[in-house]
């Protein structure tokens, strides 16, 4: 036995005057930081275990606790920030890959923060969304280039059969998060909130629990490389099917759910034995080429009898534009792009932080490429990867997205504090855990309400911004990059984003 050099990440401070020894902190901490010594009538803290989730802080009835990044540090060094030293110590100790959760935290440039939006002044009136209709309805699916509508007795009659479309009342959906990565209660909250909000949630690659088939019209079911829980009934239970090729948080790597999280219900849903690791292969072993993808797309279309859109999700990687073009030509009804900042329940830290690219650049490149090839209408473009607020969404739509997936933001609305410990299965907020003592922490009634509120609030803000631009339908913003201007970006970035600099 030798001394561990793993450093404490957080400091736990307790105001002993305020502490009433109620031990709520102790009961709430799933990492066992807090303990009570009855003889001494004192609370003790093991800072080494603290993940900074703030659960105890929020639940302490006297607000006696403060958790902050541990102030101990080393002599500052340009090449060796304390974080780098900590990581090395951890790896020297364990001999393992560093694991983490959520999306990139290196802080690659967030382009949303360098884009500003337009508003009307004088020459066209802004529109007041409280007094006039403001339309956010969005359709996901392949659109033909033209449609035959004729007037019969003065009434328009449709002569073209359109491919299947998803109807969204707001251009935001809940992104793919699997049952297994997140709890039953969270799945239920997402499903019910999507239903209440007239939008979709995405099952992720963990199959669909029988209890949630009732939310099928608001469900996008995923088919990933592990094919967990994929069967004909599952495919037909949802409103659309998404083939998951990659994920923004870990491009090139399959999904991981550790065996500890695989309980009986998850085992049934995923069709794997209880307690086994659910490790999706890195690629789909029946897709080694674009033509293989085409076969899977059409196999799935056959399975759903061409009644539901079938799309493909890829991580935003360097040649995303060319790949997306191939995907559209392979017959996908929608393409999902997941950026570098997209979340995950478990990913190697190095992959999470350094593989892929910010969604803004990928989105701009893909939308432009599909337009140059004249096939932008042939598929909808859904983007994901770290959307934090409604203006991120507005900017994404102006860059060319049809809709966005929000994942991490949805979980944050349920309590997540981005502590990045999903992979431990001990989520103190009861979100990314299957421990029945912890999963109760998300009350699906409250969860549904909070998620519904979030979508409502963002939708109201989107309407307000649209009205300010003098636009009353979201389709007039989609791909309308003239409503964006950049601040502080260089020529290349402006070119890739296809926007002008502010002042131009």
């Amino acid at each position: 036995m030798h001394k561990s050099l793993i450093k404490a990440e957080f400091q736990v401070q307790r105001d002993d005057y305020k502490c009433i020894r109620c031990r709520v902190c102790e009961r709430q901490c799933s990492f066992e930081v807090h303990s009570y010594d009855a003889d001494a009538d004192r609370m003790f803290e093991d800072e080494m275990k603290c993940v900074g989730c703030q659960r105890c802080v929020e639940y302490c009835p006297t607000r006696a606790l403060t958790i902050q990044p541990h102030p101990s540090t080393i002599r500052p060094h340009g090449n060796w920030p304390y974080r780098a030293v900590k990581d090395i110590c951890k790896q020297a100790e364990t001999g393992g890959m560093l694991l983490s959760s959520t999306g990139d935290e290196l802080g690659h440039r967030i382009y949303w923060d360098h884009l500003v939006l337009n508003a009307s002044q004088v020459t066209n009136p802004s529109i007041d969304p409280l007094r006039e209709p403001m339309e956010l309805r969005t359709f996901i699916g392949r659109k033909p280039d033209q449609v035959d509508v004729r007037l019969v007795n003065g009434k328009p009659v449709l002569k073209t059969e359109l491919p299947p479309q998803l109807t969204l009342e707001t251009p935001m959906m809940f992104g793919a998060m699997s049952y297994g990565a997140i709890s039953y209660n969270v799945c239920q909250s997402l499903a019910r909130a999507a239903t209440a909000s007239g939008t979709m949630y995405n099952t992720g690659e963990g199959g669909l629990h029988r209890d949630f088939y009732q939310y099928g019209p608001n469900t996008i079911v995923q088919c990933a490389s592990g094919r967990f829980g994929v069967h004909r009934e599952y495919l037909n239970a949802g409103a659309a099917v998404e083939i998951k090729v990659g994920q923004g948080a870990k491009p090139g790597i399959g999904g991981h759910v550790p065996g500890e999280k695989v309980d009986k219900e998850i085992s049934i849903t995923r069709m794997i034995p209880v307690g086994t690791d659910a490790l999706s292969p890195a690629p789909h072993h029946d897709i080694y080429s674009i033509e293989d993808l085409r076969q899977l797309i059409y196999a799935l279309k056959e399975a759903v009898e061409y009644k539901k859109p079938v799309g493909v999700k890829i991580a935003a990687v360097h040649n995303a534009a060319a790949i997306a073009s191939g995907i559209v030509r392979a017959g996908a009804d929608f393409v999902t792009l997941d950026g570098l900042r997209g979340g995950t329940g478990a990913a190697p830290t190095r992959t999470r932080d350094s593989v892929g690219m910010p969604i803004e650049l990928a989105l701009a490149a893909v939308d432009q490429r599909l337009r140059e090839e004249g096939i932008r209408n042939n598929a909808s473009l859904i983007v994901a990867g770290g959307f934090r607020n409604s203006t991120d969404v507005v900017k994404a739509i102006a860059l060319g997205a049809d809709a966005v997936y929000i994942g991490t933001a949805a979980l944050i609305s349920l309590g997540c504090t981005v502590c990045q410990k999903c992979y431990t299965g001990k989520c103190p907020w009861g979100i990314t855990t299957q421990d029945p003592y912890l999963t109760k922490r998300v009350n699906p009634e409250i969860g549904t309400q909070r998620l519904t509120n979030l979508l409502r609030a963002w939708s109201l803000e989107i309407k307000e911004i649209l009205g300010g631009m003098g636009i009353n339908a979201i389709e007039s913003l989609r791909g309308n990059r003239l409503h964006l201007r950049a601040i502080g970006l260089n020529e290349r970035e402006l070119d890739v984003l296809g926007v002008m600099h502010a002042g131009e």
Partner: protein, 158 residues
């Protein structure tokens, strides 16, 4: 027939939903504060002696947890068993109320209660201790304090 209601003083009951009870015991903390002299959480715990008793108790057999308190029965066995009349069913509010002045601490009520909703209070002489529904408050303190809506008020429609 009971329906959920937020705040009502008349004929209210507290119900628990064990499916979302997270066992934090904030209900107990709130109950103690509500029945303290100062109504100040830090004083109630750290300064008042004897400390008030919680009339709601979280039962725990992990992962199962739920908060338990007097059910304020329509036909309360405790009131029948009480030889001094310290326990009575209040016809107006439907609450089963306890008069500490009359209580002699015989524990008959504790023995007959089918729910375990009455505790012994040994702090200053012997007496029973039980939920009074916080009738003086808009909402029972435990319900207001529950972070996960695992405790809620229902209203009896008679």
């Amino acid at each position: 027939m009971a329906t959920k209601a937020k705040t009502t003083k008349k004929r209210r009951r507290v119900q628990a939903d064990e499916k979302v009870c997270i066992g934090c015991k904030l209900c107990e903390v709130a109950c103690i504060v509500a029945h303290s002299k100062s109504k100040n959480i830090i004083r109630a715990f750290n300064e008042e002696t004897p400390r008030a008793l919680s009339r709601v108790l979280v039962e725990e057999s992990k992962p199962l947890t739920f908060a338990l308190q007097c059910r304020h029965c329509d036909d309360p066995p405790c009131a029948v068993a009480c030889m001094t009349g310290a326990l009575r069913k209040d016809p107006e509010t439907g609450a089963v109320l306890h008069d500490r002045e009359k209580c002699v601490g015989c524990w008959m009520c504790v023995m007959v209660c089918p729910y375990g909703g009455i505790q012994r209070d040994m702090r200053e002489g012997k007496a029973a201790s039980k939920c009074d529904l916080c009738l003086e408050l808009d909402e029972p303190a435990c319900v207001a304090a529950c972070p996960n809506a695992a405790l809620f008020v229902v209203e009896d429609e008679d």
